[in-house]
Every structure is written in C-alpha cells, then in structure tokens.
Amino acid sequence: MHWIIAPVILPAMLAPIIAYVMRHDITLARVVSFAGVLGLLGLAIGLFVMASGGETFVYRLGDWPAPFGIVLVLDRLSALMVFLTAILALVVLYHVVATGWDKRGRHFHALYQFQLMGIVGAFLTGDAFNLFVFFEVLLIASYGLMIHAGGKIRLKAGLQYVVMNLAGSTLFLFALGTLYASTGTLNIADMAVKIAQVPVEDAALVRVAGILLLFVFAVKAALFPMQFWLPATYSNAPAPVAALFAIMTKVGTYAILRIHTIAFGPEAGAIGDMVTAWLVPMAALTLAVGAVGVFGAKRLELLIAYAVIGSMGTMMLAVAAMTPATASAAIYYMLNSTLAAAALFLFADLYLSRRDEDGRLILAAPLSQNGLFAAAFFAAGIAMVGMPPFSGFLGKLLILEALSDGPHITLAFSAILIGSLVMILGFVRAGSILFWKSVTVSPDPDAEAAPPLTLSQGAGMGALVALLVALTLFAGPIYDVGAAAADQLFFPQGYIEAVLAPHGEG
C-alpha cells in the first residue's frame, strides 16, 4: 500500500537529481522530466482505478496512528485531481519542450517537478498542517517558474506574487493556530469529529478559524476580494507556466471542498451554514469581476487570466451550495475549466510568439495561418465561456440545473447567465480584432514573416482541445465519476472512519 505516497516521492526524488546532476545537459533533463511525468501519469491512473471502488485508502507515514501521525488519504476526489494534474503536466511539459521555453532560463525541469510534488501532495494529504507544507512547496516552485526567463515586468509581477502569497501563508498559519487552539488537532478527519462536538457557546473561535481558512483558500482560488493577484501573475508568467497554474487555482477549490465539507460542513453543528453564507456572494462577485475583466482586457493574456477568474466564480457558486449534486457539477466544470484555460494559455503562447505587438488587442497584419489560429482560439474560447457544443456549456448547464432547487437560485442564475454573456462578448471582441479585422491590415513588406506553426509545436494545444472534445463526448461517464467522488465527499463518516481506524493495513 505504499503506492499512495509514490506520486509525491517520484517528483521529489527527480527534482534534485535534475537540478544537480543534469543542469548542463538539457536533453537529459528533458528525457528524465518526461519519464517522471509519464511515471506520475501511470501512478495517477493506478490510484484512480484503485480509488474508483469507493473505498477510502489511508497511508500512515511511519505507521503512526492517525490523529498523532501524518496521513495521506486517497479517495475518489483526490485520485481524480491527481489524475487531472498528471494529464495537464504531461501536455504542458510537451509544449514547453516543443517550443523551447525550458532553454530560456535555468532549472525549469527541476522546478517543474517540485511544483508537481507540491500539487499532488496538497491533493493527497489528510492533515491540515501538512497541507500548509505542501502549499509552500508548490508556491516556492511556482515563484521560480513564474519568473522563468526573466524580464522587467515579469520580475516585478513575480515579486508581487511572492509577497501576496507570503502574506497568505502567514494567514494560513494564523488559521491553523486558531484551529489547533480550539480543537486540539490538525488531522482533518479528527477535526471534523471535534468540531461537531463543539458546543454552540464555544463555537466563536472555531468559526473564526474556519473563516480564516476559507480566506486563505480563497487567495489560492482567486475569489473576490482576493482575486487581484491573479491577472498580473498569469498574464506576466511564461504562458506555458500559466497553463500549468490553471491547476493551482483548483488546489484552492479542492481545499475548500475537502476541509469545508468534511470539517465545517452542514453537519458541523454549531458552525452550520456559515461557509455557504460567505461563499455565495464572494463567488458571484468573482464571476462579475472576471466577466468585466474579460470585457475590458487590453491584452490577450490578461483576457484569459480574467476568464480564469470568471470560471472560478462559476465553479465556486456550485461549490458554495454544498450539496452532492452541486459538487458533482462543480467537479465536472472544474475538469473543463482547467483544460480550457490551459488550452487558451498554450494558444496565447503559440500565437503571440509569432506577432510582435506584445499581446495587445490591436489590429496587426494577420499571420499566414490566420484561419488555423482563429479556429484554435474559437475552440478553446467557447469551451472557456461555456457555449455549445463544448464541455463548458455542459458544465454550466449542470451547475445551473443543480442550483435550480437551491435557495440562491436568483443570484446564481443571474450571475452565471449575465456573466457568461459579458464574457462571450469579451471573447468575441478579442477574436474579431485579432482574426477578422486584422485581415484588412496589409503586412509590412519589409517585415520578416513569422515562422509557421509546425505540427510538433501545435500538438500540445491540439491535445488539450482533443481532451475537451473527449470531455464533451464522454460527458455522461465523466460526470458519473465526478458524482461518485462528490457522494463520497458528502459521506464524511466513511472518510473519518477510514482515517481514524484503530489499525489499518498501512
């Protein structure tokens, strides 16, 4: 049963080897990095199959029993997230190698592996302090990736990103301290048991801790009012790195799903509906900010970054309702929005590297493969804003249907529908400037023609679009997987019993 920790160990071992042994040999580093991500994908598929039976697997580090030792927990949701991470990591790594991004700075592959270690660890851990540690691992790697290849604005944006997240980490520690002081435990399952026993008159401190934790995860998930770091970071990071970061906002979503359903969920007695009451308006405002940002963005990458914020708002509206049906819809939508955002960022990388107006949405001479780029933008764009026929539409439909018998129906429906409309308008504006009106601009005869897109460079983006198509075609089975994960998530007794069992197989 040591397989559960393997996806954390594998990148953790590879990263230093790549950093210290292969730093002068980019070919070797690429091969090893690829092998590592392929191995991670293999492990993720194995764990996914293992967890699909519905059992909750617990890995006790050092075989210490649960509330005292650190545990890793594998259930359907964490297995699904690890699987998604591995797929995205493979595609983005391929794109990075095919476009030569990893040669523009140093230690890309080592940082990439550390980043994967942190993300996978955050999905698998069953201990709140351990979650903090994995957050730090993924953040410190992301700082390096964010400023990869350097540049004035990128370094400055990177500095802001680091400061923002360090402040967030401090808040996380305050939250954990408050939680430990009031419940005496940091194990998520044990915390759920203790919080359910807190009498109403003593609940104030636990409520404070719960809301602090919610805000910490909201920073990661870029929810209003903590969304402001995301546009500057994502639009200034190297585009493939921003594509990988598409999964990092989902780490925040996952943490809210995990901790706030199990420990602060509807069954947590004194804490009750507190989380929903805060999350619903936050999510609606996030969606509004994202939509307005998409509409007003002056640069293509900024537009995509705001679209990510908008999709986080949509997803959070579903997560906030805290029922199995809305969580299943949110999980399906999460798969879609991660892949669509990554596809858009990879598109931005391919497209902007062939034009020289710095990503600004202005008229410029079209590229020789204008139609191809337009089709790619169109495909990824409609998946992102949620237009038929792609999975974004299905995801939104599922969310709307799941929310339709909830108490927040008016707010949720108007936010999602109006937000989608404004986002569609924003994407239409960008697309028509870049691809349609640009046809009228005659190319500068002296300018050197941009190199055409080769199959090998476009394959990463193509793979993501193919995945989106697959997500649409197999929407039924994939939704069932998400629904099964949500059912397991909303049956916390299974999780708690598995973690706190007196002696496991270890």
């Binding site: 604005i153 500095l159 802001q160 520690l173 430990y180 710095d358």
Partner: protein
C-alpha cells in the same frame, strides 16, 4: 504573561501589516518578516502558555508539561518562513537590478511603457 504574549503578537502583526502596505520592496520584506515573527509567537501560544515545564509527558508523577506539538509546528514554520524570506530577497533584488527601482507597484510602470510605444 498572557498579556505580554498577546500584545507582542498584536504589535508585531500591526507593524507587519502597516509595512506590507508600503510601496517599496524593502519595507514590505521587513513587514513580512515581522508578520512571520508574530505568527510564530502566536503558534507557540496555541498549546496554552505554560512556564517552566518540559514538553515531555512524565509517567511517574503529575508534573506539569507543555504541549510539544506547537513547538514542532513553530520549528517548521520558522524554517519555511526563513527560506521564503530568502527567496523573496533574491527575487526583489533581481527585480531591483532589472527595473532600477524597488517599487512594488506594477500598473504605473505598465502604463508608462504603454505610452512610450
């Protein structure tokens, strides 16, 4: 004792928050350092404040003991915040040498560049 620790955490946090709202990198780094001191002190007190007691359970008597877990958490938090501060100093130095200023704000800079084009 409680008053001393509580006011120390409060003052450090207040100073830290004030400093991270500055526009220059150097005060922001100092502010984050102050915040991390504050949180370390705070974590210490989460296991209740006990003076002159070892963090060891004694099976032979009813001697007072202090909760060892927050001490381990503080150690982890110190290591992480120390490392993070080092990274932050390096990145801000990089940004300082590239931009020839240690201002944090991005928008003014972006807009200026936009105008220059």
């Amino acid at each position: 004792m409680e008053f001393l620790v509580a006011s120390a955490v409060g003052i450090l946090t207040a100073g830290g928050v004030y400093l991270i709202l500055r526009l220059r990198a150097f005060p922001v780094i100092l502010g984050l350092a102050l915040l991390s001191y504050a949180v370390n002190l705070f974590l210490f007190s989460t296991g209740r404040l006990v003076v002159n007691a070892a963090p060891i359970l004694n099976p032979y008597g009813d001697q007072p003991y202090t909760d060892p877990l927050p001490q381990a958490l503080v150690l982890t938090a110190i290591v992480i915040s120390f490392g993070m501060t080092a990274v932050l100093v390096m990145i801000s130095l990089g940004s300082f040498f590239e931009n020839e200023s240690d201002e944090i704000n991005l928008d003014a800079d972006d807009a200026a560049e936009e105008r220059a084009k």
